[in-house]
């Protein structure tokens, strides 16, 4: 498996994993936009609950999903803890020690922040874990009709990113072979900085060669055909509808419970 491209052969074919990437993107966008409107426990909590319910239909193997979700969970926990201690306090004070204070109000805010991060992050994680970048590119160009130069350029850059990972390793080994990298933390930081600069120089050169090679193979014309067709199918409607339903249900729950507040107002 490469850095950014998931191993799509390990996916189970389900309605979500087989959906057109544009449909997945639309579903994720619906959930994200709605959750950005308000920070409240009920809206975010409902969204997380519904997302967890549909996860089994996403086709991503549990370990792969867990690894990616763990990052989201970590971010949620960190944000929650800082919110719990440092948010504007209200309600009953539960704990106070020096500058640290916990109150019922700050705990609720913390839960809302944490749930919101999970609710927004999960659709993104599923999108990335279940979508091949090349397929995403095909879909963005053929379904969303983004300019093909932009899409193909992005895909080529993504492949170059994989090369960079390999190159970084080579540079690290080469530095060891030159006798560099054993001067404690400061020396290591300096060597790392120099290594990053070398990587930059090399990748600019690589990118220039790649651009020439792409142009020589006809990249940059006004039109092109597509070897891999990408079109919406009836089942994609289910995926988009799923996203809209989650967004709508979460918002409705929040409004009914009276916790929903529009952030901008």
């Amino acid at each position: 498996m490469s850095l950014l491209a998931p191993d799509t052969s390990a996916l189970r074919p389900t309605v979500v994993s087989r959906a057109n990437p544009a449909a997945k993107l639309a579903a994720a966008a619906a959930v994200t936009v709605v959750l950005l409107l308000s920070v409240d426990v009920v809206t975010a909590g409902t969204a997380v609950l519904l997302e967890l319910l549909v996860l089994p239909w996403c086709g991503v193997a549990l370990p792969a999903l867990a690894r990616r979700l763990a990052i989201i969970a970590l971010a949620a926990v960190l944000a929650s803890v800082s919110t719990a201690f440092f948010a504007v306090h209200s309600g009953t004070s539960l704990f106070s020690f020096g500058p640290l204070e916990l109150s019922t109000g700050s705990l609720i805010a913390a839960a809302a922040i944490g749930l919101r991060i999970v609710a927004v992050g999960t659709p993104g994680v599923v999108l990335l874990a279940s979508t091949d970048p090349t397929e995403l590119g095909d879909s963005l160009a053929q379904v969303v009709h983004l300019p093909h130069r932009f899409v193909m350029g992005g895909l080529a850059a993504l492949r170059l990113a994989d090369v960079l990972v390999d190159e970084w390793r080579q540079l690290g080994l080469a530095r060891r072979a030159r006798g560099l990298g054993d001067d404690g933390v400061v020396g290591r930081l300096r060597t790392g900085g120099e290594q990053a600069f070398s990587l930059l120089v090399l990748s600019v050169r690589r990118a220039a060669v790649l651009a020439t090679a792409m142009e020589a193979r006809g990249f940059g014309g006004s039109r092109r055909t597509w070897a891999r067709p990408s079109a919406l199918r009836p089942s994609d409607v289910v995926v988009v509808a799923g996203g809209v339903v989650i967004a709508a249900a979460a918002t409705t729950a929040g409004v009914v419970a009276g916790t929903w507040r529009l952030l901008l107002s």
Binding site: S2, A5, D132, P133, T134, M152, L155, A156, L158, R159, D162, V163, E167, Q170, L171, L173, A174, R175, R176, A177, R178, G179, L180, G181, D182, E194, S198, V201, L202, R205, R206, A207, V209, L210, T212, A213, M214, E215, A216, R217, G218, F219, G220, G221, S222, R223, R224, T225, W226, A227, R228, P229
Partner: protein
């Protein structure tokens, strides 16, 4: 399709010198040409210009002068016209030198299809053409195979497939076989010939190794470094008239291939090694003044024969590194090599041979203390450990960088990976400084750098940035950086890859010198000539196994071991 250049010239932005200048050349439809010339004569630039990808307009990548036309149309315009007419055929197909940088997409099939899509080939025609192209270049992989899993040689073939699929009327190949093993290179030349025979297309091939293409091309054009054409004619005519001159300029001319340089008797030092051992006399013979001091003793500083205090060099033939039951391979996937038992000996040279992807580079990393073996052990002998009094253990992999650089020097396939300094002189000084060698005085950093610069013919480039050097100069510098710390063993990965004959001869001479001075040399290489020139034994890797063979006539590495 014809090509016509009249007074054509190109200068890259930010460069003072013109890469190509004053070029007059006519290539008739279907003509097959081998393009030769010294490094820096502008061969690669001419190919990219013919492909129509050089932009000389304001805000472009350089400045052009004169005329370069394809079928009577300016080259860039001809390229765009081929895109617009939707015939799915390219005017020209360009294969560049760096295969790693030419892969566009993540899967092999998609990558070959990329050019066809750009040329608006209908979908139903794309995949059959992709399959044919992959089969033609001898890359029988699944379309879905990730490009990240390909070896350098396979990548070269993939890039060629991407070009061939477009059925170009003029193939422009820039060192297409540089990364291939000898059998693969011969096959690729055959593939190109078949393709040209079948399609009637023409070609412009840049390649140092002339013999590969003699059956393919009908004409040889030699570019002059100062601009213009030096020679032009049938291969026979050009080689007969200009052979010596071409060889001197670095072209691999058939019949003038390097001879076996290594003496069969260890006691009789080869002539080139004598030259190595006495740089002062070499400089004197060539009528140059020398800046080298302290070299009167007859043992050059590079060779390290003089030695530092406490420097106990191992006797020739003595074991330095022992591999026992070693498996090597990338962290993911199965090991590519298993059960390797072998010994690296002082003053002996090993050529690691084998086809693309057999594990030569991986083995080199393991030997150099840079990568962990998947199984088994790499053990440093007491004499290698005792080279410096720094408490180094018996596993090179565990050595700190400083301990490693005092004992094992590494030369990577891509020299640019190894450059860490702003100037050539500083680059050579990095290693000795890390070892705490004094700046001034006899055998100080300054002196070592001066001598290496002189020896590598880089003195006039001492202040230049390593990244701005030519390929050959970068290669020499990368070998120099490894020699600067006088390691007891030197591990090189494809040291002669893509080098012209002049650089080749210098490298071979340099290596013979360090071998004669008692350094162990291990070179992973596709190069038959290099193997013949320096190796005492070959380690052939294939199908996951390593077989050690003594090179006939070489110093026997095993029997005279201490």
């Amino acid at each position: 399709m014809s090509l016509e250049a009249r007074g054509f010239g190109w200068r890259w932005n930010g460069r003072e010198a013109w890469a190509v200048r004053g070029l007059d050349l006519t290539v008739a439809d279907g003509e097959r040409i081998l393009l030769l010339g010294a490094s820096g004569a502008g061969k690669s630039t001419l190919l990219t210009a013919a492909a129509g990808v050089l932009d000389g307009s304001d805000g472009g990548t350089g400045e052009s002068e004169g005329i370069l036309e394809i079928d009577g149309v300016d080259a860039p315009a001809a390229r765009l016209a081929a895109l617009e007419d939707s015939a799915g055929l390219a005017r020209s197909g360009l294969l560049l030198q760096d295969p790693q940088a030419q892969t566009v997409l993540a899967r092999c099939g998609d990558d070959v299809a990329f050019g066809l899509e750009n040329h608006s080939v209908p979908r139903e025609e794309i995949w059959p053409r992709v399959d044919v192209a992959l089969a033609e270049v001898g890359l029988p992989v699944d379309r879905a195979r990730p490009t990240a899993h390909l070896s350098g040689g396979q990548r070269q073939r993939l890039a060629l497939a991407g070009v061939m699929a477009l059925r170009p009327q003029l193939l422009l190949l820039d060192e297409p076989t540089a990364m291939l093993d000898p059998a693969g290179a011969a096959r690729l030349a055959e593939v190109v010939k078949e393709r040209l025979d079948a399609s009637g297309a023409g070609c412009l091939v840049v390649e140092h190794r002339v013999s590969l293409w003699l059956d393919v091309v009908t004409r040889v054009v030699v570019l002059a470094p100062a601009g213009g054409v030096l020679a032009d004619g049938t291969p026979h005519e050009v080689i007969a008239a200009r052979g010596e001159e071409l060889a001197a300029a670095g072209v691999w001319v058939p019949g003038l291939t390097p001879r076996r340089l290594r003496s069969s008797s260890p006691s009789a030092a080869p002539p080139s090694a004598v030259i190595m051992k006495d740089p002062a006399s070499r400089a004197a013979r060539e009528g140059r003044s020398t800046l080298i001091t302290g070299a009167e003793g007859g043992s050059g500083l590079i060779t390290g024969a003089e030695g530092r205090v406490g420097d106990e060099r191992a006797a020739p033939g003595q074991a330095l590194l022992t591999l026992a039951g070693v498996s090597a391979g990338h962290r993911s996937g199965d090991p590519v090599l298993t059960g390797v038992d072998a010994v690296v000996r002082a003053g002996r040279a090993v050529a690691v041979r084998g086809p693309n992807g057999a594990g030569k580079s991986t083995l080199a990393l393991v030997l150099a203390g840079l990568a962990a073996p998947r199984a088994g052990s790499v053990t440093a002998s007491p004499s290698l450990r005792g080279l410096a009094d720094d408490g180094a253990g018996d596993q090179p992999l565990r050595w700190r960088p400083r301990q490693l650089v005092a004992r094992i020097g590494s030369v990577f396939q891509d020299p640019r990976h190894q450059f860490v300094a702003r100037t050539v002189a500083d680059e050579l000084a990095v290693g000795p400084r890390r070892l705490g060698v004094a700046e001034d005085g006899p055998d100080g950093v300054g002196e070592r750098v001066e001598e290496l610069l002189e020896r590598l013919r880089l003195t006039r480039l001492a202040r230049a940035n390593p990244f701005t050097l030519s390929g050959g100069e970068q290669r020499r510098l990368s070998v120099g950086t490894a020699l600067a710390t006088r390691p007891a063993s030197l591990v090189l990965d494809e040291p002669t890859f893509g080098q012209d004959a002049a650089t080749w001869a210098e490298l071979a001479e340099l290596l013979l010198g360090v071998i004669a001075a008692g350094t162990a040399v291990v070179a992973a290489t596709h190069d038959d000539d290099l193997t013949a020139a320096i190796a005492d034994e070959t380690w052939h890797v294939d199908h996951g196994r390593l077989v050690v063979t003594a090179v006939p006539g070489a110093a026997s590495p095993c029997r005279d071991a201490a």
